[in-house]
Symmetry: C2
């Protein structure tokens, strides 16, 4: 690289890319002071060079005095990018391909990479990390999880002398918005989803969000950062929010709980009986109303970290949007540029712990079940006996007669919250409960998080 | 330094120092993997070598196989520390002297410094930073603000491509515990303080906490990190919580607000009319109950950041205690050790912005006033006219008759919340109100923070 500047190529000029270009112009002097050399935008790769892009043009105009200002650096041909000799390649196009091929080519040429691409990192981060290590270049990806919220440096650097036990995150703004509307407005899922779509918080096809897949990709990246172990999307156990009903939320509220879609990565075992490993899962979760995550509303994201020495930490902020995501990208660009100016690199992928990823039936958590049961003597005793037979200890029981118009036979709604139990024991309990003649149906089973200090 | 290890000297072996020694032993393998070389504790400086220190001895025993394990490295003579040839000097003794002299000596010898010393950094950080720059060594101080909460890297690195507008922090656990008890238990200040003292949250002489001086030192450090400008303790405008009454808290609750002691650092001006600069202040502040900082209870700390591109961010966690503070110290040790192994240094002091620190009367905020007024016609009009005369716009007014037993003359309690106003205009308003014949007394004046989105 030229010692007097850091040459930056931008792959993708959508909402985030345009904001990155804008900030590179507006904050030019600050960025140069922090990086130790001016950052120069030398190419912008787009899919179709002919499409009018007024916002990008306006952003580039802020780079007055450079070829960028005239838009001469915008191209739809990767070879133009390589010809521009970038020191840093900034990928904000998203998707697996062609992003992967482009980033591998960039690193092979010795360029550092900054990417916001959670899908690629969760699906095939190992290939990217290996390429970065082989080329001796930086690979930074702060913007890939929870948008503007700093997590990469806190997890990889600030907590480098500690041990993380568990990470729990609200990492998908769409589902948090829907659950917030269901909780605060008493809406059902379909109505809340429609509201989210009207406001642009949910896509026309909302499945990646509401089925939990977006959160699962982020869970994999968080788990890798927290536990220094490779985790991919395929390792994550996922349940979305499409099955969450207004009744679930009302039942939760009656017991001082709220429903959140959490991405949870935790370290388990390590004693003589249990295999050491990590479990990574995404599912609707009940949280005490006083838990810090319970107060994260609307499209905000937050990540709650339980560490051995540090105790509880939480990081809160905007998880999506052009400017917030661009803020995280810019922080990475400065770090990578500064490293290049100094001829060094930052901490790379950390996988030395190399823990196995364990199946969710190894997880231990509390559960809350709602059962519709026949309203007659002895039913509660029969239900309690099933829990006891599987070694699942009951913490709270609440029984209410079901309101009219009810079923032909008098029934009651039974809410049971358990103490911590093994997932496999709970599954066996539920299967047996469903077969009891006195149980009409198992209405819902939900996991409960948040320690005793938040009850 | 020896290329095959990083030699660490520990100055101070109190609560934090003992935990640092413990973690250096327990996490030895992880730390070596993350730093790129083993960390070896080569000396521990204490004030009195003869005093029994069972916890330190137990921690050092965890460093089995090194001279540290036998306690042979514990000394009360600084020359023994220098003789141990440390690469990194870890200062957790606190106070201005002898910490400053020792750290300057360490850097002059080429050792990097990790310190948790907020008092020293706030009083004379410039001297330390200059010494680090002159010696070309790292000076890291994550643990000096808000204990375990990562702030140094988020503010200095993650937000390096953004612009921070305002930082608001609950950075003193003692006062947050007292205010939480006053709010949740209806206690008065003296009773809540006594409870905090019983639990060890407050010192026998609580003045550094309750008078806001501890928070002010942290505010100075936060302001420097956020605004790349030098700020010292003397620049901070400070009001503590000794004047906060149970009535203030009840009045706040009636209007959906809570009282928190906030450290606020903000950037002001920059347009043609106003001088660009920063204002740094600590005072009891009213926050909407839905604001994320309003839900930070007990001895927890949190720092809320408003940035141009990132939007609102919050970082939450334990602000004090041996293990949480040691976690932050260890993160710094790993970073500094890793830099030394690679022959580089991290980002140093950033003061390029060089903004002036402006007096608090340049601040613009909302205010809430409580006034006891005579309960007769025309009083409200007279009060409102005073606000109008000083250009202070009223947002909310609430008037209640004072309960019996009241004063001899019928009086009412008037609560007035203003729109954003200049501090100097509000001061003039209050002075004139106090002189009105119909105003018995100005019961309280409190600043209000938190934007419209949290109302």
């Amino acid at each position: 690289m030229a010692a007097d500047e850091v040459r930056c190529a931008l792959l993708g000029a959508g909402t985030v890319g345009t904001q990155v270009a804008r900030l590179l112009g507006e904050h030019r002097a600050d960025l140069a002071a922090r990086a130790g050399a001016p950052l120069r935008l030398v190419s912008v790769l787009v899919t179709d060079r002919e499409r009018p892009r007024p916002h990008l043009a306006a952003a580039l105009a802020g780079l007055a005095g450079t070829p960028a200002a005239e838009g001469a650096i915008v191209t739809d041909r990767p070879e133009d990018v390589w010809r521009s000799a970038p020191d840093v390649v900034i990928e904000v196009m998203g998707g697996i391909e062609p992003a992967r091929t482009l980033l591998l080519a960039a690193m092979a040429q010795g360029a550092a990479v900054v990417t916001a691409n959670k899908a690629l990192l969760a699906a095939d981060g190992a290939t990217l990390h290996a390429a970065a290590a082989a080329a001796g270049v930086d690979l930074y990806f702060e913007a890939s999880v929870a948008g503007a919220i700093p997590l990469l440096r806190p997890l990889r650097e600030s907590l480098a002398g500690d041990r993380v036990r568990r990470v729990m995150g609200i990492v998908n703004g769409t589902t948090n918005y829907i659950l917030t509307r269901m909780t605060q407005g008493g809406l059902d899922f379909a109505t809340a989803l429609a509201a989210a779509q009207r406001l642009g918080y949910a896509e026309a096809d909302p499945s990646a969000d509401v089925d939990g897949l977006d959160a699962a990709a982020k869970a994999a990246i968080l788990a890798q950062l927290a536990f220094h172990t490779r985790v991919t999307l395929a390792d994550v156990s996922v349940v979305g929010i499409t099955g969450v009903t207004a009744t679930d939320i009302a039942n939760a509220r009656d017991l001082g709980l709220v429903v959140k879609l959490l991405a949870i990565a935790e370290r388990v075992g390590g004693d003589e009986e249990e295999q050491d490993g990590v479990i990574v899962r995404v599912h609707p979760t009940l949280l005490p109303a006083s838990h810090p995550l319970a107060n994260v509303h609307d499209a905000f994201n937050a990540v709650f970290i339980e560490a051995e020495a540090a105790g509880d930490l939480m990081f809160y902020g905007r998880g999506a949007g052009g400017a917030p995501t661009a803020s995280a990208v810019l922080g990475d660009i400065v770090a990578v540029a500064r490293n290049r100016v100094r001829g060094t690199t930052g901490p790379g992928e950390s996988t030395y712990a190399d823990l196995p990823v364990l199946p969710i039936d190894r997880a231990r958590t509390r559960y809350q079940l709602a059962l519709d049961v026949l309203d007659r003597p002895g039913v509660l005793a029969a239900v309690a006996a099933v829990f006891a037979a599987h070694g699942v200890s009951i913490e709270v029981v609440r029984q209410d007669a079901l309101p009219e118009p009810g079923p032909a036979v008098a029934e009651a709604r039974l809410i049971v919250r358990t103490h911590t139990a093994r997932e496999s024991a709970l599954a066996a309990t539920v299967a047996e409960l469903a077969g009891l003649p006195t149980v009409d149906r198992v209405v819902s089973v939900m996991r409960v998080a948040g320690g005793a200090e938040h009850r």
